[in-house]
């Protein structure tokens, strides 16, 4: 079965499958980088029990597609895939996986880092943290894809 470049899914994430898909479309390239974000057992002094992720799925897919397009504008020869999991995730589960291929390693690393930074800025997904003693919705960035300052900040981090 074909692996999509962008996915929002409640199923466990398969980093190797995404890397293979990215590699299949990147013959002759010299580099593939990958990233997996895992559910951490602590956050801001709280002992985390588990997380529940919620998404506005059609817009989340659009936002992920936009991020891939932005990465291609910044690094024209990269090929990027991003999958995000939703629903209940236990400590150590992968919540997001990213793979990026490029002729040279610098662009592959940069595109991978850029993608995760932009996910945190503009993709409509939320963490509901359940910790010892309570629960709360985490709230990070006000999503605004047209905010060029945020986009430039992500690009700077990616190239640092």
């Amino acid at each position: 079965m074909a692996v999509p470049l962008v996915a929002i899914t409640s199923a466990p994430l398969d980093l190797q499958a995404l890397v293979n898909e990215i590699a299949a479309g990147a013959s002759g390239d010299g580099a593939i980088t990958s990233f997996a974000g895992l559910v951490r057992d602590h956050n801001q002094g709280r002992r985390v029990s588990f997380l529940e992720y919620e998404a506005y799925e059609p817009l989340a897919v659009r936002a992920l597609t936009r991020i891939i397009d932005e990465a291609r504008q910044a690094w024209p020869r990269v090929r990027v895939g991003v999958h995000h999991r939703i629903g209940r995730l236990e400590i150590g589960d992968a919540s997001i996986i990213i793979a990026a291929a490029s002729p040279h390693r610098a662009d592959a690393f940069a595109a991978c880092r850029y993608a995760i930074e932009r996910v945190k800025q503009i993709v409509p997904i939320w963490k509901h943290e359940h910790f010892e003693g309570g629960d709360l919705w985490l709230e990070g960035a006000t999503a605004d894809p047209d905010n060029d300052e945020a986009r430039e900040a992500a690009r700077r981090i990616a190239c640092a």
Binding site: K120, Q121, P124, W126, K127, W137, E139, G140, T142
Partner: protein
Amino acid sequence: MRVNVRLFARLRDLAGTGELVQEVSSPATVATVWNSLVANMPELRDYERTMSVAVNADYSRMSAAVHEGDEVAFLPPVSGG
């Protein structure tokens, strides 16, 4: 006219529902829909400064026009990854 409102994360918890139908007079903007929503649910109003909005699953602005049957979503600050 009627629009379909979607609420997510803590906004959904505060409202007690993630989907509802809101009656607004035409012509209307996203702001019209929001104002009629918070008239019934004032506890949502704090999000006005930090939320994002979407119309038919595309990011939009409070000043954007909405039409009969549109889906208007109000989104708290995001925390994916």
